[in-house]
């Protein structure tokens, strides 16, 4: 990590800004879910390790540094956790050197200490990573309710490793700060260490300040998708904690924030980030808990949608190549080149390949669901930023662009713990099917539109592009619709229903079905749409299963249910059933 005016260098000892006599050795890692950053501080009276992390190799590296410090001058050793999530502490359990190193005192906020002592797999997120933890006894509980009953009164402590320290509690509101806090002094020559209780990301989250540094754990990531909603997460607490830290930053004593993951944050940047984190947090009321079961559901959904996303992006890129090919034929190569900027095909291919490789490895090594869900979130986020939807929708079938956009945003919505919006209305199923089929049969650009645009060069170019790029799916298709004799009123989400019908028809048309038959009928309280076609051969079982699962989920979101049969005679039938309003 490069050093700047207000930055620190990773893996080197350097003065701790604003804390005379103290030095710091940061270990800054690339962001991942396996292990946190670690920070070792030494003062004349103590050695303090903040967050040992989750990797044995990291812990060994830290212990070597601590051992060297102690060889230079023997001092008591303290380990503080910004919160008891396994990526911040599991190295304690897995690294004997840390567990027994000169009787280190483990200091954790009282709720985190209780979780560690009972080996709580849910609160520590061990369950999320498909592992367990053995009970760990914390040597000292931080920011306790007991000490808050005696605000401002210094308490002298003698620890099991022989160390002495003074702790003073200040309840929220006792000063201008709205956070419960404690000050710990490890000795006469040591600058004070302040601990602020900042729940939200977890119940036990704390921020730790020494001099001009504020160690914030995962506070700034707490509103991120895949993190918000973890067991122990609280929106209300998070917003309150962010407010409290905002006040602390405004006091001007802090120059750099040291996060639990990734690069250090200069205070000026932190002040810009804080309102954004708070804004995100404010939108997260009532999100679903992000627990192992939900992570597994999301991971399955991720694999299902990525199959579709892959096809849609390849088709969109292919359509653009096709348009540019035709333009080249018309000697319009300038316009053809411009089209290449609308979808960055190579970037998209790389992203989709990266997800596939990750997914293959995940299945081979029986990985944890949360990693797959997070990877999909990362890929989907990048895909959303990669393609220019509005411009694309003027050139190729806007239906494909809109469906892709919705697929990506639905994933992010579900990943964040929400349910994608659904707008149900009462419709006549027969009329709806007819309108949808008509929309997929008639070219969107009429001959009249082409003729009437010839006087305006720009308008003509636009109409020309669209007429090349949009090809109605059912243009040359033999489609037979057998409608019910009477109106069949159902309650349904039209857009989701239109999407599912399009996905099914695309599959049949694309795989070469010579004809498609659609039958709409009503029976008692049910209305049924049956769509069938014959494809030359069936798809590989795995892909077919993912597609069927995706369609079934989409159908449920539309307010219907789906049964799929792939007959041995290569006949594919999709039966959509909806409750009928009688």
């Amino acid at each position: 990590m490069p050093a700047g005016n207000d930055q620190l260098v990773s893996l080197e000892w350097q003065p701790l800004p604003g804390a005379g006599g103290a030095t710091i050795f940061p270990l800054i890692r690339k962001i991942d879910t396996v292990s946190s950053n670690s920070y070792i501080i030494q003062t004349p009276d103590a050695i303090i390790l903040i967050d040992p992390g989750g990797l044995a190799a990291q812990a060994e590296q830290l212990m070597q540094v601590v051992t060297e410090c102690r060889a230079a001058k023997e001092r008591p050793f303290f380990i503080l956790l910004t919160h008891a999530h396994i990526d911040h502490f599991i190295a304690i359990q897995n690294t004997p050197a840390l567990a027994v190193a000169g009787a280190a005192v483990l200091m954790v906020q009282e709720e985190g200490a209780a979780c560690l002592e009972r080996g709580d797999a849910a609160m520590t997120q061990a369950a999320m990573f498909n592992t367990t933890i053995a009970p760990i006894k914390a040597g000292f509980h931080l920011v306790t309710s007991d000490r808050r009953e005696h605000p401002g009164e210094p308490v002298e402590l003698c620890f099991s490793n022989g160390a002495l320290a003074t702790v003073t509690a200040f309840p929220a509101g006792a000063t201008s700060l709205s956070l419960n806090r404690e000050t710990i002094v490890f000795g006469p020559a040591s600058p004070p260490l302040e601990v602020f209780h900042t729940p939200g990301h977890s119940r036990d989250s704390i921020c730790i300040r020494m001099g001009g540094l504020l160690f914030i754990g995962d506070l700034f990531f707490a509103a991120n998708p895949g993190i918000a909603g973890l067991v122990g997460w609280s929106q209300e607490d998070l917003v309150r904690s962010l407010d409290g830290i905002g006040v602390l930053l405004d006091k001007g004593e802090i120059s750099v924030l040291c996060p639990g993951h990734g690069r250090l944050i200069p205070v000026a940047d932190a002040k810009k980030m804080l309102p954004l984190v708070k804004r995100d947090a404010a939108t997260l009321a009532d999100i679903a808990e992000f627990n192992p079961d939900r992570a597994a559901e999301i991971a399955t959904y991720a694999e299902d949608i990525m199959e579709q996303v892959n096809q849609l992006f390849t088709v969109m890129a292919g359509r653009l190549y096709y348009v540019s090919y035709v333009l080249d034929e018309l000697e319009e190569s300038g316009t053809a080149e411009e089209l290449g900027t609308l979808i960055k095909g190579d970037d998209i291919d790389e992203l989709l390949d990266a997800f596939r490789t990750f997914s293959d490895e995940h299945h081979k090594k029986k990985g944890v669901s949360v990693h797959l869900a997070l990877k999909a979130g990362q890929v989907v986020g990048k895909l959303q930023r990669t393609f220019k939807t509005d411009e694309l929708a003027h050139i190729i079938d806007p239906g494909i662009v809109r469906r892709t956009e919705r697929l990506l945003s639905d994933y992010i919505t579900i990943f964040r713990g929400f349910t994608p919006p659904r707008e149900v209305s009462v419709v006549d199923l027969s009329s709806l099917i007819e309108a949808l089929i008509e929309g997929l049969t008639i070219p969107p650009i009429s001959c009249n539109a082409v003729f009437s645009s010839t006087d305006d060069e720009k308008a003509f170019a636009r109409v020309l592009l669209a007429s090349i790029g949009t090809r109605p799916l059912l243009e040359d298709m033999d489609v037979v619709i057998g409608n019910a004799p009477d109106a069949l009123f159902v309650t349904i989400d039209r857009e989701n229903f239109a999407d599912i019908l399009t996905y099914i028809l695309e599959d049949l048309v694309g795989k070469g079905s010579p004809a498609i038959r659609i039958a709409v009928c009503g029976s008692g309280g049910d209305a049924t749409v049956s769509i069938s076609g014959t494809t030359p051969s069936s798809s590989p079982e795995c892909e077919s299963r993912k597609t069927d699962r995706f369609l079934t989920g989409l159908c449920e979101r539309a307010g219907a249910s789906l049964a799929v049969s792939h007959g041995e005679d290569t006949r594919n039938t999709y039966m959509i059933q909806v409750n009928r309003i009688v």
């Binding site: 096809q311 992006f313 390849t314 088709v315 890129a317 292919g318 359509r319 190549y321 096709y322 090919y325 080249d328 979808i343 095909g345 190579d346 998209i348 291919d349 790389e350 989709l352 390949d353 090809r471 799916l473 695309e506 599959d507 048309v509 694309g510 795989k511 070469g512 494809t535 030359p536 051969s537 069936s538 798809s539 590989p540 892909e543």
Partner: protein, 110 residues
């Protein structure tokens, strides 16, 4: 990806096996170019072993179609899996070059 090149009846068939993606599309382009640069103007791609095609693969197909558009030139693809056929159809590629059920049926018409 495996590429096997065979020539008969004045045409060259490249039989492909595997995925055509970011990593393998340049390899395919190179193999096709080698055949065309060698003077062959009738090229058939046998997709019987192709399980996936990315946008990079589609670009290679279009580039080949552009190179083989003179009178007498032939470019086609045969034995597509339903998944790959779906991508080519929906992208509009089936109107640019010919798709055949098998190598025999393609070469019989050339």
């Amino acid at each position: 990806m495996e590429i096997k090149t065979t020539s008969k009846d004045n045409a060259t068939t490249l039989s492909l096996n595997g995925r055509i993606d970011t990593a393998t599309a340049p390899e395919l382009e190179q193999a096709i170019n080698k055949v065309i640069d060698g003077g062959q103007r009738k090229v058939l791609l046998d997709f019987a072993g192709v399980t996936y095609i990315s946008s990079g693969g589609l670009r290679v197909l279009l580039a080949t179609a552009k190179k083989l558009k003179n009178p007498g030139d032939k470019f086609g693809i045969c034995a597509l899996s339903p998944e790959v056929l779906k991508i080519l159809k929906l992208a509009g590629f089936t109107s640019i070059f010919s798709i055949y059920p098998s190598e025999g049926e393609a070469l019989a018409g050339w």
